[in-house]
């Protein structure tokens, strides 16, 4: 049974031009112990999906889905209190800008105190303080921070983004969640710390059986660290399946375009040759195309594309396109 089962998730909001569907019938399915990547350009709605799962969207957004289940529990039917209990305990989220995700006027140590599971503390109250410090030390070492004394005494603006991100991760794993949603966790972090964070994710996944939903726009990260991916474009799922398969044989034109846009420096690039990219740009929310949203930009689009394509399955991966690249590959 999948740990996180999302079927036809739609997120809409009311604008002066009417109700706009920012995320249109997205399907995601994560199994226990799996690392899945959610890939897409900025503006494709990936962060919205993550926030909808966590339930932290504000009231302007309307979330609806056929199925939004975590471990069999329907998230949309929970009350606010029950939802809060689930968050932080079973599902945890790590954000894009770690420094601004920490309270700027509170020491890191104090914020870590707040995120400890106090109900596990079976110690008498005068020994609580020591227990808390031990726990925090253990957590910080687990995420790779050696100098825990210094870090605990500091304020967020005194630390680097890499360390802040590790602290955020430490806060989230205090409760031993089973699903960790990472929303572009390394975008603002320097390269050396990026590798450390990914190794940390891998460690959590292998040792603690934590499933990870890695949201990113960087294909390299996805290629190296994930087992399966879902590709989104403009609020619609476009393709999903195992990473290896998709990178070898993408079926959707958009995925193909994404893969082609990564420059291969092992081949010789012609002098002043154009880098391959899809023409046009991501449509704005006020002017979303009907049907398949890639329509105006897709090189293979024809009249049938004004109807939204259904999700089809072939060779172990799902895609939604009227004119997928299967036939080409089979014929070539």
């Amino acid at each position: 049974m999948p740990l996180l089962d999302i079927r036809n998730l739609s997120i809409e909001f009311d604008s002066p031009q009417g109700r706009i569907r920012a995320v249109d019938r997205v399907n995601i399915s994560i199994n226990p112990g799996e690392i899945m990547g959610l890939v897409g350009e900025s503006g494709s709605g990936k962060s919205l999906v993550a926030k909808a799962i966590m339930g932290i969207l504000n009231e302007r957004w309307h979330v609806s889905a056929d199925r939004l289940r975590y471990n069999g529990v329907d998230l949309l039917s929970l009350s606010a209190k029950e939802r809060r209990k689930l968050m932080g305990r079973e599902i945890a989220m790590v954000f894009q800008e770690p420094k601004s995700s920490l309270d700027p006027n509170d020491t890191v140590g104090h914020q870590l105190h707040e995120s400890l599971p106090m109900e596990e503390c079976k110690v008498a109250f005068f020994r609580r303080h020591k227990w808390r410090n031990e726990k925090i030390r253990a957590l910080l070492h687990q995420v790779g921070i050696r100098d825990h004394e210094q870090v605990m005494k500091s304020y967020p603006h005194e630390l680097s983004e890499g360390i802040c991100q590790k602290v955020m991760i430490a806060m989230t794993i205090a409760y031993k969640p089973r699903l960790l949603i990472a929303d572009e966790p390394t975008t603002v972090i320097e390269a050396g710390a990026q590798a450390q964070i990914f190794k940390l994710f891998k460690k959590l996944n292998q040792l603690n059986e934590v499933s990870i939903l890695l949201i990113t726009h960087d294909l390299e990260h996805v290629a190296n660290w994930t087992e399966s991916i879902t590709v989104m474009y403009c609020g619609q799922t476009v393709e999903s399946g195992l990473t290896k398969h998709i990178f070898k044989e993408p079926y959707h034109p958009y995925t193909m375009a994404l893969l082609q846009s990564m420059p291969h420096f092992d081949e010789m690039l012609g002098h002043k040759s154009q880098l391959s990219a899809l023409s046009g740009c991501v449509p704005s929310l006020q002017h979303l195309p009907i049907g398949c949203r890639l329509g105006p930009r897709c090189p293979r689009a024809q009249r049938r594309c004004v109807k939204v394509p259904h999700m089809q399955k072939a060779h172990g991966h799902f895609f939604s396109c009227h004119f997928p690249l299967i036939d080409d590959q089979e014929s070539s």
């Binding site: 604008s15 002066p16 023409s279 046009g280 002017h287 105006p296």
Partner: protein, 297 residues
């Protein structure tokens, strides 16, 4: 393949100014406030033509007549009369020019000088800016009413002196607001970009900074109008403002205080007039602030 920038040519995207105006119009309270404001401006212009009686004319046969809806009232004296027989409605109308009209004039001139000085001080850097800042701080510490009172005490009581005093007291506030707004804009990257493009100080100011500080300035102006109205009325109430024969709402209120038990309308009606005009301005100011914050949708 579409080659033009906007694929949807039939839709017109409103400019920021139009968008702010549209936002403003969608707040009913702000629109009501601006209607009242417009009404007051019109009233201050045509007061002499619509007032039923000359303002200081004493009707010796109609002293302390209550407003017309009271059983003892008379429709001829619509809002009643005071203890000297002066018609309150006519005095109120003439008072629109004194209290409201002069505060508009005062605010506009204070805005003119204050903004220019504020821009000069905001665009300056280093020691000059520091000194100007300190002088500003010192003048701002003196409450505007106090400054106005002292200036009137020095120069004597007359409408023009009151206007000048209130205006001088308002200039530091404009300077401060402009200075802060300009200072906020200067480190922005589009200003740096304009300078790198080769714009000199004046061009940078008019094309880059001014459009972005306009809304802060407009909000400050509405705030200043309400402060000016209250200052002029307070000065009148304390009898250190506009001298006796001129109709002014604060003075009318002060005159009514002695009669408060027997003729409460002499106090409530002028006070209501001040309240309504200040409320209207504040509603307009609030609507503008919110319209700008809502942004460009």
């Amino acid at each position: 393949m579409a080659r033009t920038n906007s694929i949807y040519q039939e839709e017109s995207i409103p400019s920021p100014l139009q968008q702010i105006w549209r936002n403003f119009l969608s707040y009913p309270v702000a629109v009501i406030g601006s209607w009242v404001f417009g009404l007051l401006v019109v009233a201050s212009l045509i007061a002499p033509f619509i007032a039923p009686y000359p303002p200081h004319f004493q009707h010796t046969d109609a002293l302390l007549v209550p407003p017309s809806w009271h059983p003892n009232g008379h429709i001829a004296y619509f809002l009643g009369t005071d203890d000297l027989g002066r018609d309150i409605f006519s005095n109120l109308l003439y008072g629109v020019r004194t209290t409201f009209g002069s505060s508009l004039l005062v605010t506009i001139s204070a805005a003119f000088f204050g903004i220019i000085l504020g821009v000069l001080s905001g665009m300056s850097k280093g020691l000059k800016s520091s000194i100007l800042n300190h002088i500003l701080d010192a003048t701002l510490a003196i409450p505007s009413l106090l400054l106005a009172i002292v200036l009137v005490a020095i120069s004597g009581q007359s409408l023009s002196n009151v206007m000048m005093a209130v205006g001088v007291a308002l200039v530091p506030q404009f300077m401060r607001a402009t200075h802060t707004a300009v200072h906020h804009e200067l480190p922005r990257e589009y200003v740096v970009a304009a300078k790198l493009d080769g714009a000199n100080q004046i061009q940078v100011f008019f094309h880059v900074i001014l459009p972005n500080i306009l809304n802060a300035l407009v909000v400050q102006t509405t705030l200043a109008i309400s402060i000016a109205i209250i200052d002029i009325a307070t000065l009148g109430f304390l009898r250190i403002g506009v001298p006796a024969p001129t109709s002014e709402w604060g003075v009318m209120l002060a005159d009514g205080v002695d009669l408060i038990f027997i003729a409460p309308w002499t106090v409530t009606i002028p006070g209501l007039a001040i309240f309504v005009s200040v409320l209207a301005i504040n509603l307009v100011g609030y609507g503008l602030q919110r319209a700008v914050k809502e942004g460009f949708g």
